[in-house]
Amino acid sequence: MNDKPEKLIDKKGIRLDGRKADELRPVKIQVGVLPNADGSAYIEHGKNKILVGVFGPREMHPKHLSQSDRMVIRCRYHMAPFSVQERKSPAPSRREVELSKVIRESLEPSVFVDLYPRTGIDIFIEVLQADGGTRCASITAASLAIADAGIPLRDLVVACAAGKIDDTVVLDLYDAEDKLGVADVPVAYMPNLNAVTLLQMDGVLSPDEFESAVNMAVEGCKKIYIMQKEVLRNKYMVVKEEAEE
């Protein structure tokens, strides 16, 4: 493990993977990829490959978990054993339990839960390959999967991280930058409502650096948001064309 590069970003501001400081990795998204789920999405965010399936609104099992005035959202974030360098045990780790909770809480403000009392939805997130920033890519895909299930939303939730490598604040850290960098700030955001629904941070940032990281992450979110809407619109364009034939 002595392959730590001397610098993560060079004098010209180019990162190890060739990106500029405020540049996103390539993002590809698809919706409606799982025949058995009510809604689904697949995202490739850099080398991250993540599949999300949504089931419901449906009756809750066990029933006592249902609530009389709202829909209950459950979420499971899970990494495939082969998704990382060293095999990960398929049993849920403490990290996965925490991420399942914060991802659920990042999506909840977007859903009109009071429209579906006594029901529940289950969001299943499977990380097939991980390369840093999986929680953000998961949120971007999960929000689309919920929309794909036909559940009314206040806005799509989109997520992206910013952070600090060497002395520079950068957008969308990949695995090596996350591990060797100074700080990582994942942010989930609803652009139309100007609402941050997930915010975490590890590493050390001065208050000023933190401010620019949050702003940079929000700008990154806005770019992915355009792709999200495009993907959803395209799906219904196809449906419309089929209906007209």
């Binding site: 403490r94 339990v97 909840e108 100007n194 915010l199 208050p207 401010e211």
Partner: protein, 262 residues
């Protein structure tokens, strides 16, 4: 949200709008804080924190163990939290649920990311043997804001921790007489801020937690830099509110730091 909490929310929100809180505190006031160190003789370090009626006991145990393969020269930190069933009616026995895992991971991140423990000094034999520091958080009474109480108790317990002196004989660790303090480099303070009806309050009590939109916890190190953040709850913050919360957390952590003899 049940009917009762909705009624309560209205009452709490109205009070906060007028700059007051149920227990008479100002919006940015902490409840009374007391820290007692070294209550558990069997543990290498311990501390009990009262934050109002919230009570958290932290015990630190130190054992020999193996380092992680990617950090062969560093000691290991392990943080665990128990929401003990006697502390609150809905705390149940059994394996840790998402709330206790989240609590432990927030405290862990504050200590780890601020590099509070000088882990390089906990190495016994590179790649083979290091000291493992177990921080066990015991919530003994839950009356809101377990996060700040637990983080304060954890760092207080680390300050109070004494490491056994040792020497190496034929590759075996032999304890010698006497103790030395655990090597610490930083003392993070975690400040939790809740949002109720677009107003920010510090150190939410249990009723405020039941009706809050969302919370944000920030760990601030000795230099006033932010070293860990966790947003929680099913609500949101505008980016402006986050920066407002960040300034508030800086100010409150500095205020708490003056009271603590770290």
């Amino acid at each position: 949200m049940s009917l009762l909490t909705r009624v309560k929310q209205k009452q709490i929100a109205q009070q906060i709008e007028a700059g007051k809180r149920l227990d008479g505190r100002g919006l940015t006031d902490y409840r009374e804080l007391t820290v007692e160190e070294g209550l558990i003789e069997r543990a290498e370090g311990s501390a009990r924190v009262h934050l109002g009626k919230t009570e958290v006991l932290v015990g630190v145990k130190i054992e020999n163990g193996e380092p992680f393969s990617d950090t062969p020269n560093d000691g290991v930190l392990t943080v665990n939290a128990e929401l003990v069933p006697l502390a609150y009616p809905s705390f149940e026995p059994g394996p840790p649920d998402e709330n206790s895992i989240e609590l432990a991971r927030i405290v862990d991140r504050g200590i780890r990311e601020s590099k509070a423990i000088d882990t390089a000094k906990l190495c016994i034999e590179p790649g083979k043997k290091v000291f493992v520091v177990f921080v066990d958080i015991y919530v003994l009474n839950h009356d809101g804001n377990m996060i700040d109480a637990s983080a304060l108790a954890a760092v207080s317990a680390l300050v109070n921790t004494k490491m056994p002196n040792y020497e190496i004989e034929d590759g075996e660790v032999k304890e010698k007489t006497g103790y030395s303090p655990l090597p610490l480099k930083s003392h993070p303070i975690t400040v939790t801020i809740a949002k109720i009806n677009d107003k920010l309050i510090v150190d939410p009590g249990i009723e405020e937690e039941q009706v809050m939109d969302a919370r944000i916890s920030m760990a601030i190190n000795d230099e006033g830099n932010i070293c860990a953040i966790q947003k929680g709850g099913a609500g949101f913050f505008s980016p402006q509110k986050i920066l407002e919360a960040s300034k508030l957390a800086q100010a409150k952590s500095a205020e708490l730091r003056k009271k603590l003899d770290w």
